[in-house]
Amino acid sequence: MQRIGDAPWLRRSLIALAVTLSALFLLLPLLAIFAQALAEGVGPFIANVTDHFTLAAIGLTLFITLLTIPVNLVFGVMLAWLVTRFAFPGRRLLQTLIDIPFAISPVVAGLVYLLLYGRNGWVGGWLDAHDIQLMFAWPGILMVTIFVTCPFVARELIPLMQAQGSREEEAAVTLGARGFTLFRRVTLPNIRWALLYGVILTNARAVGEFGAVSVVSGAIRGETNTLPLHVELLYQDYNTVGAFASAALLALIALLTLAAKATLEWRATRREALT
């Protein structure tokens, strides 16, 4: 018996199409990055990567990412907890608002922050008077990065926590568990994989964010230049190898993230199979 859509020719041509498209649009560019980065040999590649400004850009990117992750972790857990464990008017609206950073273009987000916190902005004027500079400095980069990545953790947690319900937490409370003990011993173990997954996605986006950051950073070399901005600067300087060396670093981070994600998913399916 043959199932619908199972004609051999159809299957074969679909597979061929999928493989060709993946190779052309996904794999080939990735290979090109590494090929370009190593076009003049390993020596220039290393020289470019260990360049003072490149190292500064790597440092800034990691710094921003390391600050973004804990902030979004706490924010995401709190938001998911609020939305899934309490009923209040405006709950649905809040769930929709979470998606704002996904819905609007990062450039727009950057411009809005500039408008608000820039020297001539609504809040920025006051900040300027008190000698606080957020825009064109790392705090501004941090703010927009948090903005664009803030849905990731909450989005991962909400469906899971909704499906699990609050019965286990109620049971823990009837047994006398208090606030943080309850979270640490009952809630957290049930959401830890989703949480980690959310963190991985946050990390990937925080490292790679370009649009919003480019608006608020000012791209001052060695100061407010993140790795993605650095790639663009080098490219505009006609330093192709340099640009691709930095791009290769970014691609490497992305590949590591994907590997981590795949491992997690593999572990999750294995856990399900076990129980």
Partner: protein, 380 residues
């Protein structure tokens, strides 16, 4: 520990889940809250536990013994709660589940890990699961999970045990076994228990007293015996078992409906009487008082008795009757047999629909407004 509820009411948004309820539960009692879904029984149980807060009212009070727990948080009420779907901690072993309550005690009250170990093993032995201590909840059957959840609830030696449809998700045989076992445990440990169920058989079998609820109100509180013999109103009567209806016009002490006739002492006008299946006898000929011809549509032997289904034009719904095997054989009953139903007893609840506001007094023959019942001398 006794439990006392004064003026407990609850609204969810605009809808009223509980109208003001007063309830006294004696120390050591096993109380069943019985009602259809939406009757407010689970809400009441969760309010006793502290998982739900009753509406604010100056008279609203919840007392455990002498202790006023109205504003005490659930974690400080020291109750055991058993959830309908067990709510076991899925990432913890059976042992850790049972130990949980002990391990989250404040440090100065917490027993040593050795003491916890022996207490947990003792509890697991009590629920006959000590051999599964290292398993995870997902590896256990439903009945086993529910026993773990009971052991977990009893770990802190609560004086009040609350159970929300504890056996609802289990198959009939396991249910029966767990019921007996819970009763035994209750008698042995002497806690006060309240459990919620929609299964009247379970409520009648297990409880010292049953609280019958509907639409957020208590309809009747009585021992299973009294409840079954003297249901206070039609709702209770209908909820506690199968019911046959006979509706017709009464004139001069005779109720008629199509070709059906029954002599009874009710006022003239449209009336309805109710009968339990075991109150219906079946005979080959009508009696002087009752002429209720019917056709047998099904004959089902169930254990010690035979359950038959009767149908006739004058019935809205088929009647059920239970007979002894002997009677069924004597009448040579089969599908299609033509027989006559003879009410042995009947019940009448004037103007009381299931959602009636005023409770009626049952078994009071002298009062005209009260429910009437009648014993008739007819035999096979």
């Amino acid at each position: 520990m006794s439990i006392r509820l004064d003026h407990i009411q609850k609204h969810f948004g605009r809808s009223q889940a509980l109208s003001p309820i007063d309830l006294d539960i004696n120390s050591g009692e096993l109380i069943g809250l019985l009602g259809p879904s939406g009757s407010g029984k689970t809400t009441l149980l969760r309010i006793i536990a502290g998982l739900e807060t009753p509406d604010d009212h100056p008279d609203c009070r919840i007392l455990f013994g002498e202790r006023d727990v109205t504003h005490v948080h659930v974690r400080d009420r020291r109750i055991g709660f058993v959830f309908q779907h067990y709510a076991l901690f899925r990432h913890m072993s059976v042992f850790d589940n049972v130990a949980f309550g002990l391990t989250v005690l404040p440090r100065r009250e917490r027993p040593s890990s050795g003491e916890i170990r022996s207490r947990v093993m003792q509890l697991l032995e009590m629920v006959q699961l000590s051999h599964l201590a290292e398993r995870f909840p997902a590896q256990l059957s439903g009945g086993q999970q529910q026993r773990v959840s009971l052991a977990r609830a009893l770990a802190l030696k609560p004086e009040v045990l609350l159970l929300d449809e504890p056996f609802g998700a289990l198959d009939a045989k396991v249910r029966q076994e767990l019921r007996r076992w819970l009763r035994h445990l209750h008698d042995e440990l002497g806690f006060t228990s309240v459990f919620v169920t929609h299964d009247q058989e379970e409520a009648l079998e297990l409880s010292d007293r049953v609280v019958v609820m509907s639409n957020g109100r208590i309809e009747q509180i009585d021992t299973p015996e009294t409840l079954y013999r003297q249901p206070r109103n039609r709702f209770v009567f209908e909820f506690l078992g199968d019911v046959n209806h006979l509706e017709g016009e009464v004139r001069g002490g005779v109720l008629t409906c199509g070709e059906a006739r029954l002599t009874l002492d009710l006022d003239d006008g449209p009336q309805e009487i109710l009968l339990r299946p075991h109150e219906v006898q079946v005979a080959a000929a009508p009696s002087a008082d009752a002429h209720l011809p019917a056709v047998v549509t099904a004959v089902v032997p169930v254990g010690a008795e035979v359950r038959i289904e009767l149908n006739a034009d004058w019935m809205d719904e088929p009647w059920m009757a239970t007979l002894s095997h002997g009677d069924a054989e004597r009448l040579a009953l089969g599908r299609g047999s033509r027989v006559y139903a003879l009410p042995r007893r009947w019940h009448h609840y004037p103007d009381s629909r299931p959602d009636s506001q005023q409770p009626d007094v049952s078994g009071d023959r002298s009062a005209k407004s009260g429910a009437k019942r009648r014993e008739s001398g007819a035999t096979v």
